[in-house]
């Protein structure tokens, strides 16, 4: 099958800092890809290049058949098809949860207010926070906010979902409720790229795990192989640190 995300020889610098080095990556439709690695290894930057929150200096990125380049129309077309969930939720604090969710479908997709609200309520129901629809983000717990943020992205009916450490800012007791939503989403066949430190989630849900270090993909493979039989010394060290702390 044709890959839905394709990165070829991607290089990126922050000033003189070389943060992505010769990245080659293909993601198949419906695949759940988990990206792990020590902090500062370029995981977040990698997924942020896919909807061009971070521009790249070298290489090609093709998303759903559209090449990402300077052309703003291409960028906006891709962003419509790629949902993103952030570590800090980034809900819009001046809008109710319902308005957060319906904003993009009405303004970008041109849905009617009624249609967008009907769909929003369905999705909020699915993640268990329909009763919070009229509240403002600040009135919700972290876990509820992150679920709302996932719904906000899903309301655009994206083909790909990017998760940038979605549980790292959460209190431990709320991590589970967010991971459950992500598990369900993975089962429904969504293409997902997930940067996370939740190794349990990676083991259960990922089709493939890639390990990054110092801007490079150093190892990739099915989760059972990566976790029980890593080839690279650096992967072993990283897994040792994160699993036995």
């Amino acid at each position: 099958m044709e890959p839905i995300v394709k990165m070829e020889n991607v290089n990126k610098w922050f000033g003189s800092l070389h943060v992505l080095k010769d990245i080659n990556l293909e993601v198949a439709p419906g695949e759940v890809l988990v990206i792990i690695g020590p902090s500062g290894s370029g995981k977040s930057t990698l997924i942020r290049t896919i909807n061009r929150l971070e521009p790249i200096q070298e290489g090609r990125i093709v998303v759903d058949g559209v090449e990402l380049n300077e052309d703003l129309r291409n960028v906006e077309a891709i962003r419509r098809e790629v949902g993103m969930v952030f570590q800090q939720f980034n809900l819009f604090p001046h809008m109710t949860i319902l308005d957060n969710v319906t904003l993009a479908p009405t303004k970008v997709r041109g849905l009617s207010k009624e249609e967008a609200e009907r769909k929003a309520m369905e999705l909020l129901e699915r993640v268990g926070i329909a009763d919070q629809a009229e509240k403002y983000p600040a009135q919700l717990s972290g876990g509820q906010q992150q679920r709302a943020a996932i719904v906000r992205a899903l309301a655009m009916e994206p083909k790909i979902m990017l998760f940038d450490e979605p549980t790292s800012a959460l209190d431990p007791e709320m991590i589970g409720e967010v991971l459950d939503v992500m598990r369900e989403l993975a089962r429904s066949g969504m293409t997902m790229l997930v940067v996370t430190h939740e190794m349990g989630f990676a083991r259960d849900v990922a089709d493939r795990v890639i390990v990054m270090d110092e801007g490079r993909i150093i190892e990739e493979g099915p989760p059972e192989e990566i976790f029980s039989n890593p080839k690279e010394e650096r992967t072993k060290n990283f897994l040792h640190r994160i699993l036995h702390h």
Partner: protein
């Protein structure tokens, strides 16, 4: 008893504090007594009622005064309509009470026709409030902007039956403040966006303008606008003084507003931009729906502060010969009948400015409280 204990603890603990308390108390007593004695025995307050019309509307021709009442009725109707749409009911009681007290205070001073005019205008406001409450909220909200636009045009049209050279007093101060604020706001917004823009030319020009205007006194900008504005219109068209004066204020205030808004813009986290972009919103949509609402909310106190500053600074109109409230004081004092009554006249003018500024300030706090809900 608790009061006594409090005083002993805070005012009379030790020799020095006791001494300080006594001296302060005596000074307060002496000054307060002098002022009160003056206000109730010597002051000749008759100068205020005798010139009340002059303070309120300046040399506006008495036979055309109905135009002011109609304009006021339109204005209050606009305010009432807006209140009906956005303000919760419990504040309306406060507003009505304040208006009632002011009305009773002014009652003995007013001509019978003015008593009626004020009542009629207040009635128009109440009616508009009821109207706003009776139509669908979403529709009312959508009507807000066009209603204000048309209403303002209508009010100005009605007033224009009298040439603007004959507008004066509080009427002129309010009109000038209103238009200065309404016009300076969009300009300030554009300048703020311009200064934070990534395009170097736009950013440079905006920065240059803002720093230039903020680097010179308001009076010079007023003079400049007064001299320069006629250069930009055909020679045979005489630009009214008032328009030139307001233009000066707009140019000046926009630079300050821009800096406040910029502060607000920079306070919105980068994550908000990214979240909006990631949803596929365009740059324009991101600014309008996500960034500006948060930025403006954060700087409401500063923005209203600027409105109050404009309101008070219109008193500088004296210098370019526009007859605002303060220059009415000079007109009254130059009348031989009222010679030597500076204290009464200026105290009254101060009081009127204070009333205006205080109610704006009150409004600001209410607005903050009402909008604070969605903040994190």
């Amino acid at each position: 008893m608790r009061a006594l204990a409090w005083m002993k603890r805070n005012l009379f603990n030790g020799v020095w504090n006791t001494l300080l308390t006594l001296v302060t108390a005596y000074l307060l007593y002496a000054v307060g007594r002098a002022i009160l004695v003056w206000a109730f025995t010597e002051a000749r307050w008759q100068v205020i009622p005798a010139n009340f019309r002059l303070f309120m509307v300046g040399p506006f021709p008495p036979e055309a005064i109905w135009r002011v009442w109609v304009a006021l009725a339109i204005f209050l109707a606009l305010v009432g309509f807006t209140a009906g749409v956005v303000v919760r009911r419990r504040y309306l009681g406060t507003a009505a009470a304040v208006a009632g007290v002011l009305y009773l205070l002014a009652f003995p001073v007013l001509l019978p026709s003015s008593r009626l005019g004020l009542l009629a205008a207040a009635f128009a406001g109440g009616l508009a409030w009821l109207l706003a409450g009776s139509i669908a909220p979403r529709l009312a909200r959508r009507l807000l902007a066009p209603v204000w636009f048309l209403g303002t045009l209508a009010a100005i049209q009605v007033l224009s039956g009298v040439p603007s050279q004959r507008w004066g007093g509080l009427l002129l101060t309010v009109i000038a403040t209103f238009f200065a604020v309404v016009l300076a706001f969009p300009l300030g917004l554009l300048l703020a966006l311009g200064r934070t823009s990534k395009m170097p030319v736009i950013s440079l020009l905006s920065t240059l303008y803002i720093e230039l205007v903020r680097g010179v006194p308001l009076v010079t900008v007023l003079f400049l606008a007064w001299i320069m504005v006629p250069l930009f219109v055909p020679e045979d068209f005489r630009v009214p003084q008032l328009v030139r004066g307001i233009a000066g204020f707009v140019l000046f205030a926009a630079a300050y507003l821009a800096e406040y808004v910029r502060g607000g813009l920079q306070g919105v986290s980068r994550g908000q931009w990214e979240a909006a972009w990631a949803l596929g919103l365009s740059g324009f949509q991101t600014v309008v729906f996500i960034i500006l609402p948060q930025a403006l909310r954060a700087v409401i106190p500063a923005l209203i502060g600027q409105v109050i500053a404009i309101f008070k600074d219109t008193s500088l109109f004296v210098i370019i010969g526009i007859m605002d409230l303060l220059s009415m004081a000079q007109v009254v004092l130059s009348n031989p009948k009222f010679l030597g009554l500076e204290r009464e006249v200026y105290l009254f003018v101060m009081f009127v400015y204070f009333l205006g500024a205080a109610s704006l300030s009150f409004l600001s706090r209410r607005l903050e409280a009402a909008m604070g809900l969605g903040k994190r």
